[in-house]
Point group: C2
Chain length 414, copies 2
């Protein structure tokens, strides 16, 4: 079967999924979790094959760690599926309900998107996580993972497909692409009559490849260059805590801070405190000349530093004369992901929120909250920095769309 | 200036527009309407040049009619702008407001999309209508109209740009593409760093061209093959009225009916009544063999008839054994636009609504209500049959996206 035929089967299965009641979907998701637990042995054995092959190829330890499953990690995956099972079902939600002057009743009601293609790299847990979220929102899913994880992904898909069949759903509702040739991925991305949305997850290279070659709609984010601006009216203790949390609690996450902007009036007090706290945690500083007065250890920052997503214990720093200069800096270098102001001045906070159009704008809170779970979405399928459909962390609702249902008593227009 | 530079200026102007208060935008829209009225003379003179050129080229009367302006039509355009001015402003609307257990307040707030490219054909009123809707929702707009209307469009844009400058907004917020070469349109559609959305409006050929060549997101509908299903439990008087309205009140509209499906149990009664009403209005019928028993004037329908968007006084007819067969027919031939059931059986109505995933599904109401104004959106920038961002008629809300605003008191994640 070629990729178009696979997608056709997946699309037919999507029609069955779209009809399932919320209760049936909850049961299906619980069944998928049980199937993962039941297949722990073959899944871990398959993962061991992937790991051995990766080690043989000389894969780095960070990548090996992303690839590796063990009983605890696998149990965490099935636990996550049980959590998704109990989330509120977005399908059928009425978002507008209005009687028009002519008596017709107009509702907007959430329906599934249809078929979602997930394109991702090494992490085999995405196979289960992404499938669960898509299916919970009534969508069928085509999973195209990385070659490093092919045995793990196949074993996980094998278990999940059994749960689908047990629930009376055609197992093409979860279609794992086993043909990992680049041309097959390209063909998948052209199927605009069969695939409603592609979500790439992984490094910037993969995401750009998908965005540049897809004919199907793509929701993506390239990178997170998140800014923290310490205003002249900032509570400096809060600012230090937010800086340390944002930069060091998980430097490799896209919602970690990359650039610190400091108002000139508080720089002399704040920067030495900040530097001390960051030094303790091994953070390297790259700053402009004015900030370096107060940061003797910092090297000189270049434009590239302000554009960089380090994903590492490195922080770019710049001193600004006022809020407006901070806004101009962020507008120039923003990746439209997450920006934070620290201030006790409500006027400055409001100006910051209004002037910036990034997906997430925060006042006195850690950039690390820019995450579907932390923001109350229940789970996260990805983050969008594309200003269409969804903008910011995407939960189940972002896997649906609102359509119109109209009920009349025979009304005509003319 | 090349198209990229034009788009850069437009994007810079979008930042100014995004900051305008609702009151300022209302005033701006009223100013745009006044400017159109004030420039009626040069706009009509420019339109006369377009008409003369079109006539010289032997353009058909339907096209000439779409192109033609006169004082009454122009007054209708400025009146429409005044209506848009008074619509509720979607920007700033809070769609979610939630305090998390850690005390952070999470809101979702509507923001403009940014820069919208409208690609359209002959009708010069689109230049003003589309610009007004985009700007009301805080977006800048790049207008690429058809060459037939270039003088009219230039004169209209000239007036509207003056109103922008008078309001202190850079007039690049409304950028009319005057270079109508195909390669320039192609270049515009590649500018994914500068253009947030392209909306093509016109014939299927134009829309397919835009969809196939765009790197920027596109919202579109190719065609409207709208179905009316007359159930065994239909009120047949209502069914005749809905059929006549749906087919004949404006056959060239995308929300007009193209196919009638009739339950076998009511065919003998309904089809002769329907045929008589349609014959009076000059509608040609193309039906399957079973329906033709009751439709002596009908010719035989082919598969192509069931797939066709006639946009004319032609109707395809098919008899079905039951609701499920009607659903299967619609699922096969649907353009995801609008489908109607006529029935007094609530169970049949519910099954119809649940089983179909078209953008608009109606019970006992005319397909001709599938329109932004009729559904209560206040206005319409287009109709989407793409299951992403917007699905069905698109009003001002569809020209915005929800983003996150988070307010804390210094909370950190770890």
């Amino acid at each position: 079967m070629d990729i178009r035929e696979h997608a056709q089967h997946c699309r037919a299965a999507a029609q069955v999924l779209a009809q399932l009641s919320p209760k049936a979907k909850t049961a299906l998701l619980l069944g998928m979790a049980d199937a993962l637990d039941a297949d722990a042995e073959p899944i871990l054995a398959a993962n061991a094959r992937d790991l051995a092959a990766a080690q043989e190829k000389g894969t780095g330890t960070a990548m090996l760690d992303r690839l590796a499953l063990n009983p605890a990690r696998l149990a965490a995956v099935s636990a996550a599926l049980r959590e998704v099972a109990t989330l509120p079902d977005p399908v059928g939600t009425v978002t507008r309900d209005d009687i028009r002057p002519n008596g017709i009743r107009v509702q907007k009601v959430r329906v599934p998107l249809g078929v979602i293609a997930m394109i991702y790299e090494a992490r085999p847990n995405v196979t289960a996580d992404a499938a669960a979220l898509c299916i919970k929102a009534g969508n069928a899913v085509i999973l195209r993972g990385g070659s490093e994880a092919i045995h793990s992904n196949t074993a996980i898909a094998h278990a999940l497909k059994r749960a689908l069949r047990d629930a009376g759903v055609p197992d093409a509702a979860l279609t794992l692409v086993e043909d990992l040739r680049r041309e097959t991925m390209l063909a998948l991305l052209q199927l605009s009559d069969l695939v409603d949305l592609a979500i790439p997850r992984g490094g910037e290279g993969l995401i750009r490849f998908v965005a540049e070659h897809a004919r199907v709609p793509v929701i993506k984010h390239y990178k997170g260059v998140c800014h923290l601006y310490v205003d002249r009216a900032a509570d400096l203790d809060k600012a230090v805590a937010l800086l340390v949390d944002g930069k060091t609690s998980r430097p490799a996450a896209c919602n970690s801070l990359e650039t610190l902007l400091v108002h000139v009036d508080v720089a002399a007090t704040f920067l030495p405190q900040a530097a001390a706290a960051l030094r303790e945690r091994g953070v390297e500083l790259r700053a402009d000349d004015r900030a370096r007065q107060w940061l003797p250890d910092a090297t000189a920052a270049t434009d590239d530093d302000y554009a960089a997503e380090y994903l590492d214990l490195i922080l770019a720093v710049r001193m600004v004369d006022d809020l407006e200069q901070a806004l101009a800096h962020i507008q120039q270098y923003s990746s439209d992901h997450t920006e934070v102001i620290v201030t006790e001045d409500p006027g400055a906070a409001e100006r910051f929120v209004q002037a910036l159009s990034s997906a997430v704008v925060m006042v006195n809170a850690s950039s690390r909250f820019s995450d579907g779970g932390e923001l109350g979405l229940g789970a996260e399928i990805g983050i969008s920095t594309t200003r269409l459909h969804a903008y910011g962390p995407m939960g189940l609702e972002a896997l649906t769309v609102e359509r119109f249902v109209v009920r009349g008593q025979g009304q005509v227009r003319r």
